[in-house]
């Protein structure tokens, strides 16, 4: 049985189960139909041209965990930001782990989607927002919808600034090998609300894992979102992340994606403008080696006037690593005075590393500023010589130049603890220990 068939037959069992999924029967039934028709994307589709899921679909994965797992804090401490006070929503093999979590209902709801689905007081929010911005025709998003049961639920009421960042962390363990995890996150920021979120998926098993994540985010008028995705998983982990952000007037949504590891990582990051005068920022650093694969597909849909979007992605690919960057910007006819900026710079450290980069601009308005640029190069030999001539050995010199190359993306990171963590991960990846306190 290939993965599609496994999933379709598992759906029947999942659908028959009593649980929070009962509340979403209609959405789920429609979604499984979309997935059944479309199946997994193939490289024949333009959006998946460079990203083959063939191996994934031939791998056995199961939907249901066999046993409950208790993790000790000591075992996973290194994956959780510790030097900053945060709310935490932690899942182990897809199941909420209360012991590692710290949720709240005190003026803001930071809790579980399963709870939000079943409690009456959340029903209006679910009705208004759930599955409203996610692409219903995208097969993997539909697959996630069909199996929606659990995830993070965050609701920030009007004017509320959430003082502590929220960490959303998923662990996969060897107690439930070969799991497909399909968390579904719903995040709503009402007018003038602000939040910082850090998301991470971490496999603790040497077996294959597959996470098919969908996150819907709504930023109402003047809301501020600051979101960080830390992707540093092991070489058997596949992550497909589809994030949909719906923005209202004067809202600013920022997403930083740090992709440092995994077998295959695909980020679908979509911003939809529902009003004028909106700001969207997406930045990323990709630093991979071995046979790892990272694909960034971004979309900014400018639909109304006077909005801005800013994209800056840096990629460093070593050994046989492969990257994809596809940045799509749509500027509708009404979206005059749009200012859209896109930059993708890449360094290939070795002959066999590769990157496919493609800006995709569809502009229907005539009074807009859209700039895009992509570069692919190697480290500058003259710069290396300059550093070495000051006594900095080649390895460290390469490290320093690579770090410098990616540095401007780090400068906009607002949580010190995240910045420190990323600095450390980069230093470890480059195998150098030099003062990265630029």
């Amino acid at each position: 049985m290939d993965l599609k068939e496994t999933l379709l037959s598992s759906y029947l069992a999942f659908d028959a189960q009593d649980g929070p999924q009962r509340k979403l029967q209609d959405e789920r039934a429609a979604a499984i139909e979309v997935f059944e028709q479309q199946g997994f994307p193939t490289i024949k589709q333009e959006d998946w041209k460079y990203t083959s899921l063939r191996t994934l679909t031939k791998t056995h994965f199961s939907v249901f965990p066999k046993e409950d797992v208790n993790l000790k804090l000591e075992e996973v401490k290194q994956y959780i930001l510790q030097d900053v006070d945060t709310y935490k929503i932690v899942f182990v093999d897809g199941v909420y782990n209360a012991y590692l979590s710290e949720t709240t209902h005190d003026g803001v709801d930071v809790c579980l989607l399963s709870a939000a689905l079943t409690k009456r007081k959340f029903a209006p929010v679910i009705k208004k927002y759930f599955n409203q911005i996610a692409d219903k025709e995208a097969s993997l998003t539909a697959l996630n919808t069909a199996f929606t049961k659990e995830g993070a639920y965050i609701y920030v009421p009007e004017g509320k600034v959430v003082e502590k960042p929220v960490q959303i962390i998923h662990f996969a363990t060897d107690k439930n090998p070969n799991m497909i995890l399909q968390p579904r996150n719903l995040i709503v920021l009402e007018k003038n609300a602000e939040i910082q979120i850090v998301e991470r998926h971490q496999s603790l098993t040497a077996e294959a894992t597959f996470s098919n994540v969908v996150t819907e985010i709504f930023t109402e008028q003047n809301a501020q979102l600051d979101y960080y995705k830390i992707q540093n998983d092991n070489v058997e982990a596949t992550l497909i992340d589809s994030t949909y952000i719906s923005q209202q007037k004067h809202s600013h949504a920022k997403v930083h994606t740090f992709s440092f590891g995994g077998k295959l990582t695909r980020n679908n990051l979509n911003f939809y403008h529902k009003a004028p005068e909106i700001n969207s920022t997406m930045k990323g650093i990709t630093l991979i080696e071995g046979k790892q694969f990272v694909d960034h597909h971004t979309l900014v849909h400018h639909a109304q006037p006077n909005s801005e979007s800013h994209q800056d992605y840096k990629g460093i690919y070593a050994e046989n690593a492969t990257g994809v960057f596809n940045g799509k910007i749509i500027v509708e006819k009404e979206a005059q005075k749009t200012n859209a900026f896109q930059q993708n710079n890449n360094i290939l450290m070795d002959d066999k590393a590769s990157i496919n980069t493609k800006p995709q601009l569809e502009i229907f308005a005539d009074d807009v500023k859209c700039s895009h640029g992509c570069t692919i190069g190697q480290l500058d030999e003259d710069a290396l010589f300059y550093l070495q001539s000051r006594g900095i050995p080649k390895k460290e010199a390469r490290g320093l130049l690579t770090y410098a190359f990616a540095n401007n993306v780090l400068q906009s990171v607002q949580i010190d603890s995240v910045k420190k963590r990323i600095n450390k991960l980069i230093a470890n990846k480059l195998g150098v220990n030099i003062g990265f306190d630029v």
């Binding site: 010589f385 001539s389 000051r390 006594g391 410098a404 003062g435």
Partner: protein, 248 residues
């Protein structure tokens, strides 16, 4: 200190240096002059150890040891410093962080721990003051958007921080106005001592008014065709290089 014997070297299959002989002892200042394309910058680059340059014949000894197989950073650890004619711009690395990294990597090579932060700061302040560099400059990205004069001053600042045994100054005077020239020369003269040597590469005599050489050599077509005292520099200033070219 530096002993170059019959050095033939070049890059991309082209031999640019055609048998250089040069002997620099501790405490000495040597000036190397010569027309464009005579091989002056190649000589400094080869001594500093650029990987793309190959030595095909001859030897370079530093304190008696052959250094021609050493990498540029290993040469730096021995105390060789090159002030670049065209310092490379490195966005994203501040002047301070760069020099800290360089100092600590040099210490590491000698088996020493990192320099304590307060000591480092004190040294940076002291050397910056010597070169009349203000603190805002130190937090800028290395050489990015620097004027010609700022770049050269930054090179000599690095030299002052690293305190090399042998400093090679490749056209450090180019792009400098007269005030900057005085500041830079002052910085170089502070390094001068009985244990250090300086090789000044220049087109013009004017830097040599400030950094007075013990010996002047004229390079032409990859060879030293004439050597003398500082009077030779004055003679070149007056007569140009043509008479040298003809003589050679």
């Amino acid at each position: 200190m530096l002993s170059i014997d019959n050095l033939h070297a070049g890059c991309e299959g082209k031999t640019i240096l055609q048998g250089i002989n040069l002997d620099v002892k501790a405490g000495e200042v040597h000036a190397i002059m010569g027309p464009n394309g005579s091989g002056k910058s190649t000589l400094s680059t080869v001594i500093a150890g650029h990987e793309e340059y190959n030595v095909s014949q001859g030897s370079i000894l530093f304190n008696g040891d052959d250094i021609s197989e050493l990498s540029a950073d290993e040469r730096a650890h021995l105390g060789i410093f090159l002030s670049f004619q065209y310092p490379v711009e490195i966005p994203g690395v501040s002047v301070t962080n760069f020099i800290k990294t360089a100092i600590n990597q040099n210490r590491k090579a000698k088996g020493l721990d990192d320099m304590p932060a307060n000591e480092m700061l004190k040294k940076i302040r002291e050397k910056a003051a010597l070169l009349e560099i203000d603190s805002r400059f130190l937090s800028r990205s290395l050489n990015e958007g620097f004027s010609g004069g700022e770049k050269k001053r930054n090179e000599i600042f690095q030299m002052a921080m690293l305190e090399p045994k042998l400093a090679i100054l490749d056209e450090t005077d180019s792009g400098l106005d007269i005030d900057a020239l005085r500041i830079v020369a002052n910085g170089v003269n502070k390094l001068k001592g009985k244990d250090n040597a300086i090789v000044v590469i220049t087109h013009y005599q004017r830097l040599l008014d400030y950094i007075v050489p013990d010996f002047v050599h004229v390079l032409h077509e990859g060879r030293i065709v004439k050597s003398g005292t500082k009077d030779l520099a004055l003679e070149l200033e007056e007569k140009g290089y043509d008479w040298i070219k003809q003589g050679a």
